[in-house]
């Protein structure tokens, strides 16, 4: 009897050890994904590109049958839902023109929060990001961008009857931004410029920042001009802060204070070069044949 028990204990220990090892091995594979790939951050991923092309169904193209697009919805006028619940917007129309029109594949927008969106892309939760995303160096370290497809400016919204009438008034003010955006970054730059005399309130969605402006929680909102313009149009007491900004001498720039000039790009994983090249080609094509101007004209009056 005693001998049996000792054997049993050994058996248990070894099974436990094996189980533990298996668990650890599985865990160290990195984040899982729906498509069955494992990729994380900037670690070496040489193999996946080949897997990609091997599993592609269409002939001599990197594009999958359905392109999943990660996007922070709503962000009018780039991606938002109308009253019937249909998804519309500039990004949506560009996606239609590029993926369906030029590349002949289906596409599907996937709602996701903005501040984790790059990590999500690298975890292969979707194929690309189209979310009015500004191209910048920090982001370019984690993802690759397509050619720019839109130019935007960081602007400042204030209340008409408020105390802020020019850029210098922002010193010591409370400013609302959307978390993880270049608007937040512009606010942080401003904060540094003012030696810290600027309070930044970050909201999950830009609507939170807009509400905060109306609710007297912040006295200004720093955000992309087009999105802010929509909001200003719908709310009488909300106006753009005037002044000469960095885009003052640009042709198509808006005539109010601009803090930065930014370009939007479609974000890809860094091992997705083939697909990215194709999309760049499509972007060039729709610019040439006037489709781009058509779409632009629908949403922005010059």
């Amino acid at each position: 009897m005693p001998t049996d028990r000792r054997v049993n204990r050994r058996q248990y220990l070894s099974t436990l050890g094996a189980g533990g090892a298996v668990a650890l091995a599985g865990c160290s594979g990195g984040g899982g994904s729906d498509e069955g790939e494992s990729s994380s951050g900037s670690s070496d991923e040489g193999g996946s590109a080949e897997e990609e092309s091997a599993s592609a169904e269409t002939e001599s193209t990197e594009a999958p049958e359905t392109v999943t697009i990660g996007s922070d919805i709503p962000y009018p006028p780039f991606e938002y839902r109308n009253e019937a619940g249909e998804l519309i917007g500039f990004d949506v129309d560009i996606a239609e023109a590029v993926f369906a029109g030029e590349l002949g594949v289906e596409y599907e927008f996937q709602e996701t929060g903005f501040d984790g969106i790059i990590a999500s892309l690298n975890n292969a939760n979707f194929r690309v990001i189209m979310s009015a995303m500004t191209i910048n160096e920090t982001r370019a370290e984690e993802v690759d961008f397509s050619d720019p497809y839109f130019t935007a400016y960081q602007t400042v919204l204030v209340l008409d009857n408020g105390e802020i009438t020019e850029r210098a008034d922002l010193r010591g003010a409370d400013v609302g931004v959307q978390r993880g955006t270049t608007g937040e970054a512009a606010a942080e730059d401003l904060q540094a410029e003012f030696d810290g005399e600027l309070t930044i309130e970050s909201y999950d969605q830009i609507t939170g920042a807009f509400d905060a402006l109306l609710n007297n929680q912040v006295s200004a909102v720093i955000n992309d001009n087009t999105v802010s313009a929509e909001f200003a149009a719908e709310n009488d007491g909300v106006v753009f802060l005037e002044g000469d900004g960095v885009a003052a001498d640009r042709e198509n720039a808006p005539d109010y204070l601009t803090l930065t000039i930014e370009e939007y790009g479609i974000a890809f994983r860094q091992d997705d070069d083939g697909f990215r090249e194709e999309v760049n080609g499509a972007l060039a094509a729709i610019r040439e044949d006037g489709t781009y101007d058509e779409i632009y004209g629908e949403y922005f009056e010059g």
Partner: protein, 296 residues
């Protein structure tokens, strides 16, 4: 060693089953700890950037957020427990109006998400004023405290009600048979016992309150998760700041557990292990003492 009798074999079979279950339990628990612990160790050693972790900028911001969370927790905790006692008493009130209001309160604040309640208080209430006229400019933290208090008062109220129900009816009967009014009996006899009964449940709820502060990120309170999300989106490195998140939350919740445990130990009346039980034996020298020793 002759062959065992039938009964001996049977009893050792039963013994084996109990011991078997115990062993399986030990190994399951051990295995779980090894797996999770192993994962954590691997993360800490390979994914965490120690320089970033200890940089004064990052550490400083987390520490500030930590202080804010502690402040919010302490205030909300005191308020929610106080309000909860009132809600619990309302539940057992002899007045049907009070009783129904208390029940309705609990149903609503327990039955809707805290997130919803925070939204209503932070975004909704200011809408009642004209644009830009809402008088409280730094509404985020007060809104947070109000939301957490109202929400958790409901849970504490139910815990108190449960604690009161667990007090034997005989206690109230005895108190009243001595001529005490219902209110006096509640105050001096029932509530101290009810409180003791409810302590574990209340402690549990208050620890949840600490973690609920993570929801405050959606109303722009610069608490721990907000700092994490900001650093994560700027540095694109989740694991390093997550270490801080883990350590700081555990610091608060574990302290709270210790505190509640201390309260529970202090209110342990009678002979078993209670502070008062032992003291009474020393002074009266009456009952037998297992660990021997009279002081005098």
């Amino acid at each position: 060693m002759a062959t065992q009798t039938d009964s001996e074999t049977q009893s050792s079979g039963v013994l084996m089953r109990d011991r078997l279950v115990r062993r399986v339990g030990e190994f399951a628990a051990g295995g779980f700890v090894l797996a999770v612990g192993g994962l954590l160790v691997w993360i800490l050693t390979t994914q965490v950037n120690v320089q970033l972790l200890t940089s004064p900028l990052i550490a400083g911001r987390f520490f500030e957020a930590f202080l804010l969370v502690v402040r919010i927790v302490v205030i909300s905790s005191v308020l929610s427990v106080t309000a909860g006692v009132l809600v619990g008493l309302g539940r057992i009130s002899t007045s049907p109006i009070t009783g129904r209001i208390a029940t309705g309160y609990i149903e609503f604040f327990r039955g809707t998400p805290l997130l919803f309640q925070l939204f209503v208080i932070y975004f909704g209430v200011p809408r009642l004023w004209a644009t830009g006229e809402f008088p409280f400019q730094d509404w985020a933290v007060p809104a947070a405290i109000i939301g957490l208090t109202l929400n958790h008062a409901a849970y504490v109220g139910e815990a108190i009600r449960g604690g009161i129900d667990a007090v034997p009816d005989g206690q109230m009967e005895a108190a009243r048979s001595l001529g005490m009014s219902r209110v006096m009996a509640l105050r001096t006899v029932v509530m101290p016992q009810a409180w003791r009964n409810a302590l574990a449940a209340i402690g549990n709820d208050q620890i949840i309150l600490v973690k609920d502060t993570s929801l405050l990120t959606v109303i722009a309170v610069p608490e721990i998760m907000s700092v994490f999300r900001n650093i994560n989106s700027n540095q694109l490195d989740p694991w390093t700041p997550l270490v801080w998140v883990c350590v700081l939350y555990l610091a608060i919740t574990m302290s709270m557990s210790q505190f509640v445990d201390g309260l529970e130990r202090r209110s342990d009346w009678g002979s078993d292990g209670g502070m008062f039980g032992r003291l009474s034996r020393f002074s009266s020298g009456g009952a037998d003492d297992a660990d021997g020793g009279r002081e005098s």
